[in-house]
């Protein structure tokens, strides 16, 4: 099964969760995701996700000069984004419970 497909739905929520911790930028988000175990996430994967979140007004960005010179985009979560994150957490919990109960027979859905 394609890993990218599996990641697609989850990544937006996870990126939103990283941004919810405080204002951050692309490279730092990748670092946070790597720390959490998402090893194959690069700028190429992250950029479209951030653009999508920005377009849907779940995050907002401000541009400023980075310490190394180029323009850097700093992202922070909006109220809509916070609501979407809570909603995502709830839905993800339900889906993961159901999936785990199916995938690992010994784990009953209610006990996960």
């Amino acid at each position: 099964m394609d890993n990218a497909q599996l990641l697609k739905g989850v990544l937006e929520g996870c990126v939103l969760a990283v941004i919810a911790k405080g204002e951050t930028y692309g490279y730092e988000i990748i670092g946070e995701l790597e720390k959490a175990g998402f090893e194959d996430i690069g700028e190429g994967t992250l950029y479209p996700v951030l653009t999508r979140l920005d377009k849907n007004k779940l995050i907002m960005c401000r541009r400023a000069k980075s310490p190394l010179g180029p323009v850097r985009k700093y992202y922070s979560i909006t109220d809509e984004g916070s609501d979407a994150l809570s909603d995502f957490k709830e839905r993800y919990r339900k889906i993961s419970r159901s999936a785990e109960s199916l995938l690992y027979d010994d784990v009953p859905a209610d006990n996960v």
Binding site: G26, Y27, I30, G44, S66, L68
Partner: protein, 363 residues
Amino acid sequence: MYNSYAYHIKNLRPEYKNVFDQICEYVRAENMDETRSEEILSEVMDSFLTAQEDGKSTDQMIGGDLSLFCRELCSGVSLRSRVVKIIEMMFPVFVLTGFSTLLNFMYFLATLADGEKTDFWHFRDSINLWGYLIGIATVIVFEFITGAVLKKAMASSSEKFRKVSSAFKLIYAVLIMICAAYLVVNAKKNNFEGTYLWISLLVCTVYFVLYRSLTADKRKYKKENKISFDEISGAPDKSLNIEKIEMKLFEKLNKRNIRKGLPELTFSEFLEREEKACHSNTNGSAFHVLLAVFCTFLGFAAVILTSGFPHLSDGIFFVIITLTIEGLLMYALYKASCYNVSCKLKWIESKRNEAECEIQTEK
């Protein structure tokens, strides 16, 4: 000047630079608008510079597959972005066309001023607008075909991508030479008929209105990320330069005062003197305007006294063009002097703050 990614390429190490160049080529081949491509490449540049500092390899940054990285990076380019790109590509041609149309309009007014019988609706421009538009359309189609082929090449291998990219650059160079040769050969014949002036004016106006409304993001981006020329070129801090000049002046003034037997200036008195000079300088806009008018008048008088103008319209033309050129020059001079004054005022402010801090710590 704005903070473009291009100014920081020199800070990349060779391995990063090589990968970044290929990403730039791919982004260019995607034919997206300038703001979007600038944003993407600035983000990548910032990440590459940070990763370089952290000692990461390029493979760690792009995940080993450059083609996939580029495709993901550029995914979701909207139709609007591509339309804006087309409009942006037309800009240099329309600037030239607009300028020529404006000159022709002035020529039309001059013809009227000379009392010649002429009709606005039948007055012809000296350029063939439709020929220009067909030329632009051909270039745009070629650009999009190039983009599609380059993207395909990138999907197979970066080596192939490089070869195809070089081949297209060669084709471009040959095409430009053919076009230039065609223009040189046909310029002598002078047998084409220009477009009606009103059509040229209308098309140019529509284009510039469209350009202004569709590129508002671009202007906002450039305004937000304004950067001084000194910062880009890596020149030493302007304030250090001012400090050097001002301290020299301070010494010179005091030496002169000693020579004349006058009391020496204290540093705060010197700052006050300099501040006054700055404020008198900021009122110099009237001086620049008057200088432009005076120079034009001088030129006009010189021509009248020597050969004179054959027609009234020639005189009007002379005044308009000279006033425009001198006005622009004076405006640039005025802006430069304003910038210097603002830097000097900042320096004076910083020196006063320093002195205040010293007094407070002594207390």
